[in-house]
Symmetry: C2
Subunit: 356 residues, 2 copies
């Protein structure tokens, strides 16, 4: 039995209480200032407002001001904060970290490092650690197809835990895995995290194809599936350029997570409304008015900016990414979705040699 502290009481952080409780750990769920309503509901014995499902009654909950109390004697710290708030929250957690602890990041996305380079989130966390803790606290990244609500329901799930320090990954795997929450481990942090971030971008593209049926009355499943395979190919080129491995792209973090993200969710929905004819700028405006965060929208920008950082360094060529470039034009420059996608299929068919 270990003391596991979950930082962030949103959908994914809270869902992980279920496998942790199955394994009889001491589970502490800490909410940020934005999670106050969630912690209050859980303490009142109500369902989690995000899942509308009960969480295990044995877990302990903590309000934002109780971070110190929550972190006392923590062995595993699971960070489950949206990428835009990750650094801000992690800075508050750092003072309670010490050697012997392991950090697991289930946040997904890309961010600017202090050098200005766009990078994966575990690198951002590593960078924030004070010198005496650098390379002393293993940081594990998580990928693979994992809708939070299905972890609560205990639908069978398979995920990937990535860490340079395989022993730590193995330890955490043993602590968290159940017969319904399966974990594989890999050393390929870059591949796992790039796929975790970029699948949101490409899922917007899959959503476009779904939306086309509302435009012309015709299904575009052929289009969607072609885009799916081109998305995988582009993720592979990007991952390779950054030193990651093909196995992550064609395994759970890449095609597995892209599949589940393209099935349902906000990324797909954003694409769907644009595919159906709404102009991108109007779709985004509506989204912002409703205070909805669509990770794929920023992932398209971060991904595209990353390509532009890597190209002059000779790591890759923008020409290798007609799909991501097309998504950028549709989402950020109001290019016509239908015509752009037709053009992308023409450009991408036969393009990828997989000689990578």
């Amino acid at each position: 039995m270990a003391k596991v502290v979950i930082i962030g009481a949103g959908a994914m952080g809270s869902a992980l209480t279920v496998p942790l409780e199955r394994n009889n750990h001491e589970v502490c769920l800490w909410g940020t200032e934005l999670d106050e309503r969630i912690i209050t509901a859980l303490r009142a014995g109500e369902y989690h407002p995000k899942h509308n499902q009960p969480l295990p009654s044995s877990i302990k909950t903590y309000y934002a001001y109780q971070l110190q109390e929550a972190m006392e004697d923590a062995e595993i710290v699971i960070v489950a904060i949206t990428s835009d708030a990750l650094a801000m929250i992690f800075k508050r957690v750092i003072q309670y970290l010490h050697e012997g602890m392991i950090v697991v990041s289930v946040s997904k996305g890309l961010e600017y490092s202090t050098s200005g380079d766009i990078t994966i989130l575990p690198h951002i966390l590593e960078e924030l650690l004070p010198n005496q803790l650098k390379n002393k606290i293993p940081i594990i990244g998580v990928g693979g197809p994992c809708k939070a609500i299905e972890v609560v329901w205990e639908s069978s799930t398979s995920v990937t835990y990535a860490c340079k320090d395989v022993e730590s990954a193995r330890k955490v795997k043993e602590l968290i895995m159940t017969d319904r929450y399966n974990i594989e481990i890999t050393e390929d942090m870059v591949g796992t995290e790039i796929c975790a971030a970029m699948k949101n971008a490409y899922a917007v593209g899959l959503g476009l194809a779904e939306g086309f049926k509302n435009k012309g009355g015709f299904l575009h499943n052929n289009t969607k599936s072609a885009l799916f395979s081109f998305a995988v190919a582009e993720m592979a080129i990007l991952v390779k350029a950054l030193g990651g491995g093909l196995a992550s792209v064609v395994g759970l973090p890449g095609i597995g997570d892209l599949e589940v993200t393209g099935e349902a969710g906000r990324n797909r929905t954003l694409g769907e409304v644009i595919g159906a004819g709404l102009q991108a700028k109007d779709a985004i405006k509506k989204m912002q008015e409703e205070d909805i965060t669509v990770e794929g929208y920023s992932a398209i920008r971060y991904g595209y900016e990353l390509l532009k950082q890597l190209e002059p360094r000779g790591k890759l060529s923008l020409k290798e990414f007609p799909l991501l470039a097309g998504l950028y034009r549709i989402l950020y420059e109001d290019a016509l979705a239908y015509e752009t996608i037709i053009d992308i299929l023409q450009q991408c068919t036969g393009k990828y040699s997989w000689d990578i």
Copy 2:
């Protein structure tokens, strides 16, 4: 302009009249004895009974007894016959073939060759050719995500044409491709055809996960997406064992076609009703009573038998295929679907090294 004869007036054969007509070819659609009603409808100016869509009015239609007339001066012969009737029909066509013609097979599946080995359909066609035509008539196999009805609608589509003779594949590509029907070419016939056949088998597995929501009330998208990635991994191992290439598996013929097949169709539906609780034997019986052919059902058996043929030759180990073996147990031995799939996720997570 070329004379193109399509053998078989079912959904896919008929759909290809659309891109062919766009390119102003002389398009001849020949129906088998089973297609009589279709040919009669088309001649009466009615919609195609399978798509419920009109076909180009310029195409010529032929009844079964008019095969000789249809084949006169043919340059390209597109064979679009279900795998179980393919050899029987092709034997009738052979007498009209001569050097200079190219055969395109859009049939998908596996069959027993005369040696008793299970093999891909273009090999069956090659074997049927008389000695003086062997290696003289290029045979092209077709893979990739392609719902026939969407080709009729001209939804953007990308497919793969595979042939040892790249020049012939290139020629046919130039004749058929349009701005909505995109074609890539590859020499990897084995990879393309194995994926085309096996994706039907694995789509039944994806359907199971869809059906689970009707069993317990919970979605199993995580399960479905994990199965998707395991299916791709198993197809890769099988393709490699047979000398095919990874690029086909992770490109349009593999993940692209699996994606579209898992979205909708009879393979998925068969899985779905079993996943929802119907016993496999009852689902199959109902299917047979309604005279519905589900390619995935036989693909599971052919695939499994193929593994059993290859294992003693040291080409692979049955242990590398927990998913296909599990699907065989569910479909042919009435194993419990839900419990089997939970077990498969446990077995497959972390199993595939992609060191292939």
